[in-house]
Symmetry: D3
Subunit: 275 residues, 6 copies
C-alpha cells in the first residue's frame, strides 16, 4: 500500500513567476514523456511480476512511488509560476493569453493532468507487456525522452529555482536509465548485454522464418550503391546471425513454407520475465 508525508522530495522555488514557463512544465506532468506516465507504468509492471522475481517488483514499486513525488514537485512548480497572475485578456502578454485557456477557465490557475498543448493524460501510453525485457525497453525509452524533455525545459528556464529543480530531475532520469539497463542485463547473461534478444527470447529460433531474420530490406526503387553498412554486413547484434542485404523488388510474394516442426512445442507456458 501507499503512504505519503508533507514534504516535497526536493525543494521547489520560483523567484519570478512565469506563466508561460508554467505551461511548458505541464508537459512533464501529463505529457507522453511525463511523470504520470512513468509512475503508472512502473506501478502496472510491478503488479504483473510474480513472487519469484520479488526483487524486480520491489525495484519497480520503489521508483513508481518516487515518480509520484516528482508529479507533486512539478505541480508545485506550475502553481508557483502562475501565482499572482492577473485574470484578464486584452493585451498579448496577459497570463491568460500566454497560457492555454483551460489553465484559467478549468483549474483557476493551477497544475492540471494535461500536457503542454492542453491534451489530457492518456492511459494508452502505459506499457506493461507481461514481458520484463520488453518492459525495460519501454522504460529506457520513457526515461530517455523524459530526460530529453527535462533538458529542453532547462534550456528554456530563466529562474534559478527552476534550473535547480530541473537539475535534480535530470539527475534522477540519469539514474533511472541506468537502473533499467542494469535490470535488463540481469535478465540474461550479464556479460552479454544483448543476450535477451530477440525479445521475447523464449520463442524457438527455428520456428521463425530464419531466411528473413537478418536480412536488411531495401525498399528503394533505385539500386543502392553502398550496401556494406553496419546493418547489412557482419555479425548481428544478438550474435545469432549474419546480416545481409535484400531488395524488396527481388521479392515475389515469398512462397509459403511447410509448417514448422517445432510449432507445437512452443505451446508451453514461458516463465514470466523470459517469455
Amino acid at each position: 500500500m501507499f503512504y505519503h508525508d508533507n514534504q516535497l522530495q526536493y525543494e521547489v522555488e520560483v523567484e519570478e513567476p512565469d506563466p508561460e514557463f508554467g505551461r511548458m512544465l505541464q508537459q512533464a506532468i501529463g505529457g507522453v514523456e511525463g511523470e504520470m506516465r512513468v509512475a503508472m507504468q512502473y506501478f502496472f509492471q510491478a503488479a504483473a511480476i510474480p513472487d519469484e522475481h520479488a526483487e524486480y517488483r520491489e525495484m519497480l514499486r520503489d521508483t513508481a512511488a518516487e515518480e509520484l513525488g516528482h508529479i507533486e514537485m512539478l505541480a508545485a512548480a506550475v502553481n508557483k509560476n502562475l501565482r499572482g497572475a492577473s485574470a484578464s485578456l486584452g493585451d498579448g502578454d496577459s497570463a491568460v493569453s500566454e497560457l492555454l485557456p483551460r489553465q484559467f477557465l478549468s483549474s483557476g490557475m493551477h497544475a492540471m493532468p494535461t500536457d503542454a498543448n492542453g491534451a489530457a493524460f492518456d492511459g494508452s501510453w502505459i506499457v506493461a507487456s507481461g514481458n520484463l525485457a520488453a518492459d525495460m525497453y519501454a522504460n529506457i525509452m520513457a526515461e530517455s525522452t523524459g530526460r530529453l524533455l527535462a533538458t529542453r525545459l532547462y534550456e528554456l528556464a530563466d529562474d534559478p529555482g527552476m534550473k535547480d529543480m530541473l537539475a535534480y530531475l535530470i539527475a534522477r532520469d540519469t539514474m533511472h536509465q541506468n537502473q533499467w539497463i542494469t535490470l535488463l542485463k540481469e535478465l540474461g547473461d550479464p556479460e552479454e548485454v544483448f543476450d535477451v534478444h530477440p525479445i521475447p527470447d523464449s520463442f524457438p529460433d527455428e520456428v521463425e522464418n530464419q531466411e528473413f531474420s537478418y536480412a536488411f530490406m531495401s525498399t528503394n526503387v533505385e539500386p543502392q550503391e553502398a550496401t556494406d553498412l553496419p546493418w547489412t554486413t557482419g555479425s548481428s547484434i544478438d550474435e545469432e546471425g549474419e546480416y545481409s542485404f535484400l531488395r524488396e523488388l527481388d521479392l515475389d510474394g515469398a512462397p509459403m513454407s511447410v509448417p514448422k516442426p517445432s510449432a507445437q512445442a512452443y505451446n508451453e507456458p514461458a516463465p514470466q520475465g523470459e517469455d
Copy 2:
C-alpha cells in the same frame, strides 16, 4: 516519394477462415504494438533527420515502406479470416458475435484501422523526439512488443497459413530489433554499447545535480535488508558513476543549490542525433 506494386511482400493464405482469429490479428494492424504505429514512427523520424545523416534517414525510410507492406499483409489476413462468415446473431458462435460489432456494422467484415479491442489507431503513440538515440529506444521497444504480440498470435493460431505468415513477421521483427540496436551503437563509440547514455548525451554532466545521478532511491517505509543489488552497488552502466543506496525517508527537501556555472554554456545548438 512512395510507390507500390500489386504483390504482397509475403504470401498470405488461410485454409480455414476463423473470424475470432481475424479479430485478434487487428491488434497487429492498429494496436499500440502494431504496424501502423511503426510505419508512421519511422516515417516521421526519417523526416526529422538532416542531410549530414542521410544514411540513417534512408534506413528509416526503407523500413517505413516495408512496414506499410506488413499492414497490407495483415489486412489481407483479416479479410480472409472473415470471408464467408454469415451475418447473423442468434447463437453464441456466429461470426458477428465473435467479432466486435463494428467489424460487421462499420466495415462489412473487412480489416479496420483499429486494435483487437476495437479502439482506433492513435497518433499519440508515434515517437519522433528529434533525438536519434531516444528514437532508437522507442523503436527497439516497438519491435520488442511487436514481436511479443506476433509470438502470442502464433501461439493462438491453428491455421498453417497463418502460422507461416507470422513466422515471417516474427523474423522481420528480429531483424528490426537488431538493426535499431546497431544504429544506436553507431551513434556513440561502437565498442561501448552504452556510450550514448545518459540520453541526451550532449547535456553537460556537471549541470545535473550529480549527488543524485547514481543513487537508487528506496521509497519503502520499512528498512531494506539486502541493499547490495546490481543497481545499488558497483559501477553504473554508463560508466560515469558509482551506484549507491538512498532512503527517501532520509530526504528532507534537499536544499536548493547555487546556480550551476555551466548553465549558459548549454545554450549551444546540439548536433542532431547527439542532442
Copy 3:
C-alpha cells in the same frame, strides 16, 4: 512525497479464478468510476490548495494514497482471476475469448490501465477546478458511481474472496462519501448544508440575471397541467429565492439588460475554497 510497503491494504483471495469476472473488475481500475480516477483527482485537488487550508489538503492527500492502494488490490484481484487460464481460442468458453483480446495480446494476462470495455484510462475525467465546493461535488459523484459499480460487481461475484474484497471497498466508498460531504459542510455554515450554494458562492448575487435564477423552464410544446412541483413552487434549496414556473414558448429572446453595476466589483481575487 510518497512511500509504499509490500503489503496490500486488505487481503485479496480468489478461490476459483474466473477470467470473465477479472475483466469486469477492470472497470474499477481504469474506468470512469474507478480508482485511477479518484487517486489522481484527489492528488491534483490537493496540489491546488494553499497553506491556509492545509487540513483540507492533507485530507485529500491521505485519501489519494489510500486509493493507490485500492488500484493495487484490484490489480492483484484481476491477476488472480486470470491465473492459469490457457491461451487458446477455438471454443466459446476459452479464457482468451471471454476476455477482451488485449488482456492476452498486450499484457500477457495481467491487469491493465483500462476499463472493462478495454478503453484506456482518460485523464480528462479528473476534476480539479480550483474551487473546493465544486470539487467536493465531483468527489461525491465519483464515490457514488464508484460505490454503485462496486455493488454491481458484488452482485456478479460468486467467489467468497471477491465478495469479501468488494465488501471492504464498498465500506471505504461509504466513508469517502461521508467525508467529502462533511468537508463540503465545513466550507459554509455547518448548520446549513447548502450554504455554499450557488457554487461559486463568491460571485455577487446581484450581478446574475435574477429574473431567471429560480424559474423552472418547461420546454414542452404542450401546456403542463401539474406545475406545483417541488422545483416550481416554494423556497429554493439555497434559501435565496422562490421557485416559479416558466414556459420557454413565452420567451421571446429576453431583451438585453443594462450592464450590471457591480460587475467591476467582482474583479477582486476570491479566496481559494470560496471562489
Copy 4:
C-alpha cells in the same frame, strides 16, 4: 421528439468583436464543463427513467432541451466575436494568431464542437448511471463547474453584451443547481437531506464490511497530532455511524472475513431510482 423555432432563448449581442474572447467561450460549448455535456447528460438520464417516475424524466428532458438552446446562444456569441476578423498571420495580434489555428483552418471562423484548448467534445464525460441519486450528484457537479466557468468568463469579459448573456447563463446554472438538489431530496426523506446516502442506498448495510465504513484512514507516515477533525469524530453525515481515526500503518492486510450471510439476499432487483 424535439422541435425548435428561429429565436434564441436570450438575446446575444456583441458590441466589439474579440476573437480571443470568442476562443474562451468555446469552453462553455464543447468543454467538460460545457453545454454539450449537460444537454446530452440530461438526455441520456431521461431515457433511462421508467414510466413510474415520469415526472423526473420530464424534468430532465425539459432541461436537456433548454441546454440545447444554450449551445445555440454560445455558438452565436462565438461567431459574433469572430466576425470581421482578417485572415492573416504576421503580427502577434492577428485574429488567426489569437485563436487556435483550427478555428480558421477547419471552420472558417465559426463556433466548433471543441473546448477552448481545441480538444473535441468527448462523450465519455456523460454520466447516466442508472441510479438517479448518483446522477443528481453528477448534475450538481456539472452545474457547479459550469457556473464556475461562466463566472470566470464573466470576469474576463469586457463587452456589455457578453456580460449580459453570461449573467443570464449564470442565473440558469443557479436554478439548475437548485433543481437537481431538490430532486435529490425528493428521492429520500425530504426532511433528511442526506437520507439517500450511502449511494446506492439499496445495498444492505450489513453486507459491507462495517468495520471500515466510518473510519478515516490516515496514510501519512508521520503520526498526526490533531485527530479530532469533523471527519474523524462524531456522527457520520449519513447518520448511520460514528467517525473514527485509523492509521494505514496499523493495517496488516486485514484478514478475509467469512462470507456475509445476507449476500444472496441482495440479488433481488432494486427499483430504479433507489438502486
Copy 5:
C-alpha cells in the same frame, strides 16, 4: 431554441428482448455513422450560416431536431432489448456476457452515448467547415454510411418491432441523402450537378498549378497497360479540364514555378456558401 414533447417520433416495440441486438443498436446512437453525430453536425453547420441563406440554415436545423428524436427512439429500443435481462455471469449466454461490460456496470442496462464496441461518442467526427458545399458532402457521406448501418442492423434483426423501426429510419436516411444533394445542386447551377466543383469553387483556377489538376498519377513501379480509364482520358467531371495519365516515376521534383500573378487577388473575403 429547442422544445420537446412526450411522444416518440415513431413507435418503438420489442416483442422479444435481445441484449446482443441492443448492443448492436448502440452503433446507431454513438457510433461514427450514428445519430449523435448527424444531430450535432447539422446543428453546428446551421449555426455557421448567415442570414442571407436563412432557408439553408432552417433546413439544417429542422433535420438536427429530427435526428435528436432518432436518438430518443434508438435509446428506447436499446432499453427495451435489455429489459428483464438478469445480471449474472457464469454461462456464455447471459445478458451481461453478451453485452459489453459497461452496459451493465456503468449504466445499469440502459442506452449509452457509445458505439457498439463501447467507444464513447467523439466530437471530432462533426464536420462543419464553413463551406456549405463541402458540408453537404460530409452530410451525404454521413447519411450514406448511416443508411448502410441501418440496413445491416435490419439484416441482423429478428424482431418485427425492430424491423419496423429500422424500416422507418432507413426511409428517413433516403430522404436525407436526397435533401442534401438537392441543396448541393442549389448552390451552383441546378442544371449542372457538379457545378460547385472543385470545392471551394471561389479559389481562382489560374492560381492552382493547372499542369497537375487533371492528371491521374500512377504510383505503381510497374508500367500499366490499360491507361484509357474513365479517370485518365476524356473530359473531367467538373468540365474544366481533360484527364491525362502520369507516372510518378517520371516526376523529378517538379520545379518551383514563379509566383502566380493572381495570388494577391485571392485575399478577398469569399461569400459564405461559395467560399
Copy 6:
C-alpha cells in the same frame, strides 16, 4: 507492397522560415482534413475490394501512395519553416511561443503527427465502409475539406515557395475530387449521376417505410409559410419519388406496420461495391 525513393514529389522551398506558418501546416499533416487521413483511408478501402473490381482497388492504392508523398512534402515544409528558430521564451514573438509547446518540447522543432491545435492524428476518422459508393462520398468530402484547408493555408502564406507548394497540392485535390466522382458514376449508370442512390442501393425499396422516404420533416413549432422549396416539391434527386412536406407536430407516434413481405429476401449477400 510499398517502395520509395529519395525525391520529393514536388520541390519544397522556404525563403523565409516562419514558425507560426509551420504550425498552420500541421493541420494538413495530422488534421481531420489532412494527408495522413486520406493516405490511410484509401489504403484500407483498397484492401477491402475483391479481385473482380481490381481496377478500383488499383486506383485507390495509386492515390494512397501519392498521398504518402504529400505527407513527406508537408513534413519538409514544416521543418524548413522551423529551421534556425531559437529555443527561448521571454518575448511574445519567440518561435517557441508562436508554436504549440510540444513542437519544441517533444519533437525538437520538427513535423509531428498532429494537427495545428496539437491534437494527435485519430484513426477513427478513417472511413472504409465496405460499400464503395459510401466510400466515394467519404473521399469527395475528404478532398473537399482538404482543398478548402489548402486554399486557406494559401491565403495565410507569404512565402513564394509555400504558395507554390500549395498551388500544387490544391491542383492534386482538384484531380482527386474529380476522380472519386468519376468512380462513383462508374458504379451505377454513368449517364445518371445519382443512379447509385439511395446508398446502399441493394436494399429493396419496398422494405423501407416508403411513406416517409421523400417527405421533408419540419420540426419548427411555428407553421412555415414557404413550403414549396426544392426539397419539398418535385421529383426527388434519386428519381425514385416525389418530395412532400410534413410537420413533425402532425406525427403521433406513427403506428407500427406489419412486417414487410420482402424482409427475408434481403438476407442474400450483396455483391461488394453495390451492397
